[in-house]
């Protein structure tokens, strides 16, 4: 079974609520309307229960200002739900000129074998006609590689390749630990590369920098870039994004859960238990755990 699109989810919801009618419909269809709002609410819950995803990003995308800083980096992306891994590397981005891109194709070429050996699968790619979050999928030679997304333009362009991981993975610690080390001048031990970091959410006066991350690292050694892997925030379904970022079973759960949430709106509370039984075991157990935590004030470990 393929992952259900919003249109398919909406149809299921109406079917389960016995409300799939064209005359005097009890609910307003459409992703921006009533059903769409409840669908996104259900999507948020199912996605959270299903666990995180991983996005690999280079230092230049994640952090603003000078990359070669001294202990603090301010974030430039606003969709980080959770930082999973932070790396430290001295590998700078590599700009390669005269890369051949083709609209609708993920293959790019270089007539002069310009894809250096350092550029490997997993590296981030940016440039004219390259969608966001595109990585090198695989490289067949120093003159040809395939990306994870199709190019949106044809041309001979300069592409910038950046690593999305590194040889050093500093350890995640509490900010207080780093602040203590800075205040005390360390413990007498010297390290040539960052060994620990703390990530905090920066304040956002005026709301312009909502959810940007500030990275504090120790020691504040210069000369390092900080690519990272993170769990991105959920992007709600809308007119453009029509397929939820879940698997096939979970997409069906979105329909069941949204319908369960809507039973009172169509005066069909009798359907609630049946809809709950149709949820997959994983989603059902996750909901029970959430409910228990709410009722017992227990912390979900």
């Amino acid at each position: 079974m393929a992952v259900l699109t919003y249109s398919e989810i909406e149809t299921k919801i109406l079917d389960y609520l016995v409300a799939n009618v064209s005359t005097d419909a009890p609910l307003t269809s459409g992703v921006t309307n009533e059903i769409g709002r409840f669908t996104n609410d259900a999507y948020r819950i199912v996605r959270e229960i299903s666990g995180g995803r991983i996005r690999k990003a280079p230092s230049s995308v994640l952090w603003t200002g000078a990359q070669l800083n001294t202990g603090t980096l301010v974030g430039d992306v606003t969709d980080i739900a959770k930082l999973l891994h932070v790396y430290a590397t001295t590998q700078a981005p590599i700009a390669v000129t005269t890369c051949g891109t083709t609209n609708g194709s993920a293959d790019i070429t270089h007539g002069s074998a310009g894809f250096l050996a350092a550029i490997v699968a997993g590296w981030h790619v940016s440039g004219t006609g390259i969608p966001s979050n595109t990585l090198v999928d695989y490289k067949t030679s120093t003159g040809a590689m395939t990306l994870t997304s199709n190019a949106t333009a044809t041309g001979s362009v300069t592409l910038t390749f950046s690593p999305t991981d590194g040889p050093i993975e500093p350890e995640k610690v509490e900010l207080a630990r780093i602040q203590w080390l800075r205040a005390q001048g360390g413990t007498g031990a010297t390290y040539a590369a960052p060994i620990m970091y703390a990530a905090v959410r920066g304040a956002s006066p005026g709301g312009t920098d909502v959810n940007k991350t500030v990275l504090e690292y120790y020691p504040g050694t210069t000369g390092y870039y900080f690519p990272a892997h993170y769990d991105p925030q959920m992007v709600p379904l809308d007119a453009t994004i029509t397929t939820p970022d879940v698997n096939d079973v979970e997409s069906a759960d979105i329909a069941f859960l949204a319908a369960r949430m809507l039973v009172h709106h169509v005066n069909r509370a009798d359907l609630a238990d049946g809809l709950t039984l149709m949820l997959s075991e994983g989603t059902r157990l996750g909901l029970e755990r959430r409910e228990k935590a709410m009722l017992d004030a227990a912390q979900d470990r």
Binding site: H85, K172, V173, T187, G188, T190, I195
Partner: protein, 239 residues
């Protein structure tokens, strides 16, 4: 028997043994600094059980004209030289080793002499002054500056003095390294809370077991060194 290993390798082995591998989630029982501190501390403790490493430094000491001198602290090791028991001084001019005598013996030679006769020294004694410097007297006093070779036993490095602690070198052979790993893991495990132990599925009852293993290996390492250096090493068989 020559061997060395970077501290980062020992760190990884220690972390692996105590399942301290949640660096990305921030749930490690001990962070990098804590583990490295434990390794550095155990290294010094264990090195004290073994015979001290020696270093030969040509022309490292100059006894100025007179009867006193100070042993150099510059280094043959990263931390700077701190002395263990054995020091030999050899005059470059004649190739003769000075005899090492005790402080009371030196006092007896110098007794009732307002001017120490000057010639070429043939014996010396050492003492530690209030600032921790190793100083000495020689007898007879040196009539002119004497350049000397030094053969000296040194305390092992404090790994925390390395320019990059991750790359600090531990000069133990494989027995010593394994003993260091196990002993450090045992000391860290003993400090874990019940929650840490449960998360890592560790049983604290292994601590004395690991310590016994580590010290057994260290003892054998000491036996090997003693045999290499031609020194007697008493073994007691308990029946």
């Amino acid at each position: 028997m020559s061997n060395s290993v970077a501290l980062s390798v020992v760190r990884n082995r220690v972390n692996n043994r105590i399942r301290n591998w949640d660096s990305g989630s921030g749930k490690n029982a001990f962070d990098v600094l804590e583990v490295d501190e434990a390794i550095a501390s155990a290294y010094i403790r264990y090195a004290a059980f073994l015979s001290a490493p020696h270093a030969f430094s040509a022309s490292a000491l100059t006894i100025s004209a007179g009867s006193t001198f100070t042993l150099p602290t510059t280094a043959v090791v990263v931390s700077g030289a701190e002395y263990a028991a054995n020091v030999k001084i050899q005059l470059v001019s004649t190739g003769e080793f000075l005899d090492k005598i005790s402080a009371p013996e030196m006092d007896a030679l110098r007794n009732a002499q307002t001017t120490i006769p000057a010639s070429r020294p043939d014996r010396f004694s050492l003492y530690v002054d209030n600032a921790g410097a190793i100083k000495g007297f020689c007898y007879p006093a040196a009539a002119s500056a004497e350049v000397c070779n030094l053969w000296r036993a040194l305390l092992p490095d404090d790994l925390r003095d390395a320019a990059n602690m991750s790359a600090a070198v531990i000069y133990f052979d494989r027995l010593g390294v394994e003993a260091l790993v196990i002993e450090t893991a045992a000391s860290l495990l003993a400090r874990m809370t019940d929650a840490d132990l449960e998360t890592r599925r560790l049983n604290p009852n292994v601590v004395p077991l690991w310590q016994k293993e580590a010290r057994g290996m260290l003892y054998q390492d000491a036996v090997n060194r003693a045999g290499l250096e031609g020194r007697p090493f008493r073994e007691r068989v308990v029946r």
